[in-house]
Structures are given as structure tokens and as C-alpha cells.
Symmetry: C2
Subunit: 448 residues, 2 copies
Amino acid sequence: MKKSVTIVGAGLVGSLLSIYLSKRGYKVNVFERRPDMRLETMSAGRSINLALSDRGWRGLEGVGIADDIKKISIPMYGRFIHHKDGTNAYQPYGKDNQAIYSVSRADINMKLMDLAEQQENVNIQFNKKCTLINRKDLAITFEDNLTKETSNSSADLLFGADGAFASSRLSIQLQSDRFEYNQHYIDCGYKELIIPAGKNGEFLLDKNALHIWPRGSFMMIALPNPDGNFTCTLFLPFEGEKSFSNLKTDKQVEDFFKSEFSDAFTLMPTLISDFKTNATASLVTVKCAPWVFDNKIGLIGDAAHAIVPFYGQGMNCGFEDCVVLNELIEKHNDDWDIIFPEYEQLRKPDGDAIADLAIANFVEMRDKTADPKFILQKKIEAKFSQHYPDKWIPLYSMVTYSPHIRYSTALKEGQKQQKIMDEIMALNDIESIWESDEIESEILKRIS
Amino acid sequence: MKKSVTIVGAGLVGSLLSIYLSKRGYKVNVFERRPDMRLETMSAGRSINLALSDRGWRGLEGVGIADDIKKISIPMYGRFIHHKDGTNAYQPYGKDNQAIYSVSRADINMKLMDLAEQQENVNIQFNKKCTLINRKDLAITFEDNLTKETSNSSADLLFGADGAFASSRLSIQLQSDRFEYNQHYIDCGYKELIIPAGKNGEFLLDKNALHIWPRGSFMMIALPNPDGNFTCTLFLPFEGEKSFSNLKTDKQVEDFFKSEFSDAFTLMPTLISDFKTNATASLVTVKCAPWVFDNKIGLIGDAAHAIVPFYGQGMNCGFEDCVVLNELIEKHNDDWDIIFPEYEQLRKPDGDAIADLAIANFVEMRDKTADPKFILQKKIEAKFSQHYPDKWIPLYSMVTYSPHIRYSTALKEGQKQQKIMDEIMALNDIESIWESDEIESEILKRIS
């Protein structure tokens, strides 16, 4: 008899995990606080787009829905930079056909829920808010959002997959001594906006790119959707000269967009009303430890490691958690006394690493993508990497296209690379000699 | 009409704050989760001793009970170091008669409660557990621990003074976006033990000192009580070779104490049973922001800044919070829209600073107090400070005896001093030339 499992949260990671576990013979009950999103219409400003990359694809391939998702996703082969003066530039993300894929959070989540419910052993209940987990006997209490009735459920194993502000985690935290916990907000918020499709449904910006309007202390990005529109996200400080707090009136918003994002502004007919209707949301990083309790309870996805979205790795990292866990179940023959500690030992350093990388990438996106020196550095790295692919994989490629490289390894390697490139970029006249053999041998010298 | 105030927690800081506020004409309701400690006998292993120093005395003087407390406190003029080989050494804490004072937490708390209840405008209710604070309308819900009945209270202002794991803070946190929060545990736990008085009630160790058995990665300390006994506290890692996890059997405990604290061991007849009966507790640092909400709710004491006990500043810092707040009320004529932001702006950097200083002092106490090089450094600093009192106040004296110097200033000055002393201690043959004029001029040179 395989054990019974309760999963709190039927989001991306909770749904995927339920499929993996049921395929291994576990009986899985999933409890989701929200209503069934497949029966509701999405509210405006919540059309969140995600960038699926190799770690995420691995997670989907493992349950056989990668092809389904590929059909509703749009490959983005590089960054399309929109400068303030109206000029623009293109920076490829990787070599050859390497891409990240724009997909709708709702689309993947609904597919995963469908697939989960097709499994013999998975049951999802909606509108069930987790109000208490009794750590001792693993009894979970839920309140039904509609009836307000309380019910209990128990299981042999429990996973908290209920996101950055997981109530499962909080409940366990309040019963646990020596729980390390850190939540940190960056000083920027974000707001979703839209560039609609053209008259005939055509894309009004380059379809196969992630668009960035880098402006130093803030930026806007846009990701394509299959129906021709782009989901735009404005990342802007809450306070200060250029900030949400200084965008109060229609005129302020209009002037700001006209001046900062002039090309996009002409493509945003509903800007003013969207700006007022859509919430200004905050961006949190959560780090905590432990991730497992009594070898019976585990945290996974954002509940264990919420990160800011700037590396496009939140979902990808959560899916990789599932892949790693699935491998450990295989490796240790369902012995959770071994699986759980090894899961935490393996994944916690990687969760911490991608959290730090995501923060660092915010600076890169909003500030450095418009910096000629930075662009030159990336060119030098790309050229060197092409000549010596076994000696140099650019950091972005390690994180995005190299699931066999751990995030924590990528972080360390990236720091080494940056140190080398700082020296290279400081060489005299680097702008004119960057393509010379001398530069390659300078890099080679520093690697060995 | 002055405003009404609710204080959650009748501990040291909540009680003192209620007195300050009532003296300013506020109507104060205090709700305490625990039973009235004046009606209960203290349980074993909870006889916690605190070290009152100048910041704390200021807080007590402000409400006129410093003299009462002085009568039940014992001055400690220095550290009495017990080495492993049975030898010992004495390190004065300051110059002249500077001392810190050993007092019982219960004694001060009860005195403060008595005084609070003597105020016309203070009411304390016990066994009232705060279960919810409605941030919007400042309605507080309490559950009575005895009757299990729920009641509500509302007020114009609210203070959370309910300690490191404040339920008031948690409740507000769950209703607040962008709340910064960090809780961190050191890898050591602690356990209280006792050295009883001699046959005729006499002190079996030097009465007027804080006793330390520094052992590198762990230590024991002992503070005197008026009835002749000493409260001992063992600080020891939870895991590792010398750790709580390796002190499971009576024999292990006995062997450990015999070998590590041989002189103390002979004075601890109830060691084995105390060790088994008394809990092993953990040590947390909590940093959070903001401390004030809507200019109606404030956090104070450990609820705002829980720190580890190694600088003996937890209570002193909390009392200083009250003093600062009282000064701000005076300065700003009860205008809380000004008082609250200024309170946070002033005190948050000091709370962060003493948290970091307290962690650093753990290393100093358990490790460096036994290190001849460290002891020499302190001698050089003391000598220089005596000759140039306006140029050099040792860090310990700034923190402990200098309430006019902010913790954050002390931290910064201390870092500068340490940098200078690192250079001085690296001078050739410092052991033999430390008293020379040359050393003084070397320090003088580095100060200017």
C-alpha cells in the first residue's frame, strides 16, 4: 500500500506534483483555496505571462504534456530593447534556436488540473482554505469559502504548495522552534498593462522576442500572447521621483508614458483606464528553513522559495523541485525518511541561489541591457563560448538552458565569470580589440 | 481629551510603557496572555536573571522606581573568568564603580505591574490572548484562556509589546503588504541551572561579578541572586561534538561538567535533575519593518527587535524605547502623526545595531574572554581611554554606560576602534611595549 498524500494548493506546482505522485501510486488529495479557475473568467490585470524554459519543460515532459503546452506558447529568441530615443536593438538569448517560451499562467495551470483529475488517484477540491495543520498527527483543517464549514483531512504525507504566502508554511512555523524565515520586498512594484493586437489580429511588435524598455531605475517589459496581444508589465519604484506615488492623475500617467515609452504609448489605447483599474502589486523574496518536518511534511515551489520574477525562473524552479523529488522517490524506493532530507539538502541551496540570481537580474534588465559596455561584454562572452563551449557557458544559458547544471553551481560559476570579465573589460581599448585572438587568450589564461 | 491606548502584553516593556502613557494622561488598557505572575509561584528553570545597565535605569528613573529596584539588585563590577584548568581571572567592566546589576525578571516585572495598577488610568487584564487585530478600525479580539470566551476592545492607539513571537505583530503582518521580516536562530541553545547558596546563605562564588566559563564554542555564565544562589546558564550548540544532542544520559552530563566546569560542578548538587527538568531553549533575533502602521499602531520592545541576550541589552533597549517615545510625546505635544514616524526613524537603526552587537558579543564571551591577546587589547584600550576619555570610550562602555550614545553610533564607533586595534595588536612585540608612550601615539595618529 502506497501512502496517502495531502497537497495544499492546486497551483502550477501543486498540480504537477499531484500528477507525479499519482503516477507513482500514491493517493493524492489536493485542496485549493481559490475557486476552480476553469469555471471562472479571468479578471483583468491578472493575465500573467510566464517564460517557460528548459527546467520547466523537463517537468512537463515528465508527465507527458510538454507538446500540448508548446502549442499554446510563443518562443522568444532574444531581448528586443526599446531605447528612450526610439531606436532599438536585439540581443539573442542563446545560440542557434535557443528560446524561452511565453505562456499564460492560466493555460498551463488549467492543463495541469485537467491532467491531474484524469489520474485515478488524484482528487482536487476547490474553495478549501487551509486554516490549520496539526504537525503532530498531520491533521489538516480547511474552511470552505462558500459554506464557511470546517472540515478535516489527514494523510501520511503532506506538501505545502500554496505559494509565497503559504498558510501551510505559516501554520507549521507557528508550531516549530528554530524556523528560519526571511521575507524581503524590493522597493519596486509592478502593474500589468496591455498592447492589444492590430486590426486583423496581428502582432504590433516583434512576436518572437521579450520586449524591454530599460530605463535605469525602472523598466517595462512585454510578452506575446497567441491571440496577438502583448502583456506588458511596468516595474517601477513605489516612492521617489519616478515612482507609482507620482503617477496619480491621468495626465501624470500619460506624460510619463509619452516621455519614457513613446513607441509603446502609441500602441496602448486603454492605458489610462488599465493603469487605474489594475492593481499595483509588490515583489517578495521568501527564504526559509527547514523545508521538511518530521519526514512527513514538505514545502515545495514558492512556499519554500518565493523569488522575484526577473530571471523567469519561479515556475521553472518549482517544476524542477517536482522532477528532483520524483527522481528521489525512484532512487530511494519510496522511503521518505531518506527522500525528504535529501530533497531539502539538494534543493535548498538551489532555491537560495535562484533567489539571489533573480534579484541580480532585475538590475541587469532595467539598467544594464541599455549599457553599451554590458552589451559588448555579452558579445565577448558569446564569441568565446562559441569557440570554447566546454570552457564557458554564459550565466544566462546555465540558468535557462542547462537543467543539468544546478542553480547553485550556476551562481558560483557566474561569479567567477564576472570576475574574469571585469578584468577583460578593463583592458585598454577593449572596444576595438574585442574580436582579437589576444582577448581569447587573456580569457583562457584566467580560466586555468 | 487624551486618546485611549491598548497595549498587548504586560511584560517588562508593556508595563513600563503603560506607566509612562498614563502619567501623560492617556487611558491605558493592558492585555496579558499569561496569568498574573504575582499570584503564581515561579516554575523551576525560569528564574531568569537580567543585567540592568544605564539605559534600563533611565527607564526606571523616569517613573520613579529605580531606587526600589536597586534594593533588590546586585552590582557586578566585572567578569570573573573561570578557566578550564581551574585558574581564574577578573576583567573589570568599566572604570571606578561602573557596574551592571543582576536582577530577577519576575521581581522587576511585578514591581512594574504594581506601579501600573496604582495609576489612575491603567487597567491590566490577565489571561487575555490576542487573537486578532483589525488594522482598519483598530479593534482587538482576545480569547480568555480560562473561560475560552472571546471579547473585543478598541482604542485610538495600539502598542504591540508582546515579545519576540508577538501575536500582535503577526496579526498586523498578515494584513500588511511589504512587511519586512526576518527571524534567525543561532545554532546554540541554552539551559538554566543553579549554584545554591552555602549552608548559612552565603555566596559560594564572588558575589559582585558576572561569572563566565568560556570554552570556545560554548560557555556557562552565572549571575548572583539576593538570597545567595547563582542562576547559571549553559549556552551550547544543539548539534556537534560538544552539544546538547550529546548530553543525553546522566553520565554524559556529569562527565561533561566535571571535565569542562570542574570548579562549578562541585557547587551544583542538583545538576543532573535540573538538567533533565529544565527545558533547552532557543535564541532568536527578529528584525522587522515597519514598526508603526497608519500612525496608530506601534511595535515596541522585543516585538519590534528581539535580540540574543549576550550584551545584556534586551530589557535595557526596550526600556529605552519607552524613554524615547516619552520624549517624543513631550516634544510633539501628543501629535502621533509626528511621534510615530519619528519613533521608528530614530529607533529602528538602534534596534538593528544592538541586534548585531549582541550576536558579536556571544563570540566575545564564549571565546575571546579566555584569549590573552584579547585581554591585552582590552587593557590597552582601557589605559588609552583613561588618558583620553574624550577620544576613546570602549565599545562595551558606550553600549552599557552611555545612554547618550545611540546603539547605532556605538556600533559604528566600535568598528572604527576595532580597525585601529587590529593594527595596534599587529605591531611587533606588542606584549612587551603595550604600556609605552609609543603605543598611545600610534593610536592617537590613527584616530585623527
